[in-house]
Amino acid sequence: MLAEFLQYLFTGVTIGATYALIALGFTLIYNASHVINFAQGEFLMIGGMATVSLTAMGVPMVIAIVLAITLAGVLGIALQRFAIAPAKQADVVTLIIITIGASIFIRGIAQLVWGKEYHVMQNFSSDEPIRVFGAVLNSQSLWVLGIGAVVVVALVLFFTKTLIGKAILATSMNKEAARLVGIRTQMVLMLAFMVSALLGSVAGIVVAPITFTSYDIGIILGLKGFVAAAIGGLGSGVGAVVGGLALGIVEAMAAGYISSDYKDAVAFSMILLVLFFMPRGLFGAKVVERV
């Protein structure tokens, strides 16, 4: 009984931490530019796939991970510079279609380079599972949670202690005013996309040993991250973390106790329920529409 519950909880928290990282990526870009980046899931895919293929070529894992994250970061900058920035006056829907086009493009290239097969990635440390009150905990889960926590702390420090972090915050609050005090907002936007891509690729790498990875893994993971971000309230960092963890746990419990066929439906029912009662998510900002 307890063992079963703990088992589902471990699964839920692990995948929830991944969702939280993806949701943070969405939040960051949304705050900086009010764009919902449908290519966010592709950063995950790039992270996982690049690490797998580099280690297969004999590159030590740590270096492979660093290279994969760098690749994702460059991609994030390129996405902002060449796809989002040129479409300045575009509608929200138009921007969504642009990021969808970008995700199809990135996925197409990944399929070209890495093929359509599933790839397996090794655990970071031992394959030996840990037993807690009869439940089995994959050692990789600890890596996911640990790295997730480190990333969240690093983000908080980045936004509160560094000048660049504060510049991003300022731009997200008021772009014109930020420019007036000398912040190069275009630079800041590129930076926001880069950090978001780094977050995505880290999530993709740490979770790859658990879920496997393939060229199309980004679609559903990206959407789940979007759900998590919306549950928390778009634009709220705390909301993204809470939304991600809540989504992961509810999903794992539903899959365990109710039906694994309807696992994905749980996420989408959950977001509908939250939005019915809280149209701006759990932690979303109250905004008054001006006419």
Partner: protein
């Protein structure tokens, strides 16, 4: 006289009719007719979706859900229960309309990205149900759908028919049928846009607060247009199922929803004929790109991005703006 015609709202409808009549001269094999029929059905669907997106300014990333529901309702009612096609189509549309009304009320209070999230969720849930209820829908493997029939007269892509003494194939008959359906869909949409309802919708798009201040019941009109666009999708889904003869949950998938919304945005939001062009381009593009094999997706994504970056208003509005600018230059600013 020509001037009066140019200004009339029937102008576009007449041009579209002419195109649909002339087109068969360029269609040389059954595959072409099949494509043209599919395009007509999808185009009619996005004409309905455009009422919601282009005129009322509300986004839907889950419209394939309604398309899929309509398709499966027709398929199950005619195939499993032996209903005649037309009552099945109508009953499906009514049920989908009711579902859209029930989910539309709470959903349409949401704005922007939250609305896109909610519609995406509705579409996803429908697709997941179609995938999992194997006993009724056949699950991921799909299900066969009987040919469309009216009063015992069957319209099958594989049959042959005679019309005014001419012998035509099943796909040709379907092409004519779907062309008529498309024209009806456009005619209804154009009338709706010019009606008081259409004006109310455009006021909602302009500014919802301002619209409600001058007495427009914005919630009512938004739900109404959501239901209308869902009914469009349901009817076209049903026809699509009959034409294809086989359906899988893929037609209700997120990818299909994205295809619909992309047709609207690429063709030109708010332009009824623009979105038809969007349907044509997006359905033909993969055929053209198929020659590039492995590069197909890369090219598709690239073209999508470039078009939206350089023509954010969509293909048709950008093209007509360019053409009328030319004409104005030639006539010295007179027109």
């Amino acid at each position: 006289m020509l001037n009066r015609f140019m200004q009339s709202r029937l102008q576009g409808l007449v041009v579209l009719t002419l195109i649909l009549i002339i087109l068969p001269a360029f269609l040389s094999n059954p595959f072409h007719y099949e494509l043209a029929t599919q395009i007509a059905i999808l185009a009619a669907t996005v004409v309905g979706l455009n009422l919601l997106v282009g005129f009322a300014g509300q986004i839907s990333l889950g419209h394939a859900g309604f398309f899929g529901l309509g398709a499966y309702f027709s398929g199950i009612a005619t195939g499993t229960y032996g209903w005649p096609s037309v009552p099945a189509l109508v009953a499906g549309a009514i049920i989908v309309g009711i579902i859209a009304w029930i989910v539309g009320r709470p959903i349409l209070r949401l704005k922007g990205h939250y609305l896109s999230m909610a519609t995406l969720a509705v579409g996803f849930i429908i697709a997941i149900i179609l995938n999992n209820e194997r006993a009724i829908t056949g699950g991921p493997d799909g299900m066969p759908v009987p040919a469309f029939e009216v009063f015992g007269w069957e319209l099958s892509p594989f049959g042959t028919y005679s019309l005014f003494g001419l012998e035509i194939s099943g796909v040709q008959a379907w092409y004519m049928f779907s062309s008529v359906i498309l024209l009806l869909a456009v005619w209804f949409a154009l009338n709706l846009i010019q009606s008081p309802i259409g004006r109310a919708l455009r006021s909602v798009k302009g500014s919802e607060v301002a619209a409600s201040v001058v007495g427009v019941d914005t919630a009512k009109y938004k739900s109404l247009v959501f239901v209308i666009s869902a009914i469009y999708a349901s009817l076209m889904g049903g026809l699509y199922a009959h034409f294809q003869g086989f359906i899988t949950p893929a037609i209700a998938s997120f990818e299909f929803s994205i295809l619909f919304i992309t047709m609207v945005v690429l063709g030109g939001m708010g332009s009824t004929f623009g979105v038809i062009l969007g349907a044509v381009v997006l359905k033909l593009l993969p055929q053209v790109l198929a020659d590039f094999q492995d590069l197909e997706h890369v090219m598709f994504g690239l073209i999508l991005m470039l078009t939206m970056i350089f023509m954010p208003k969509g293909l048709l509005p950008t093209l007509t703006a360019a053409v009328s600018k030319r004409i104005r230059k030639k006539t010295g600013g007179e027109a």
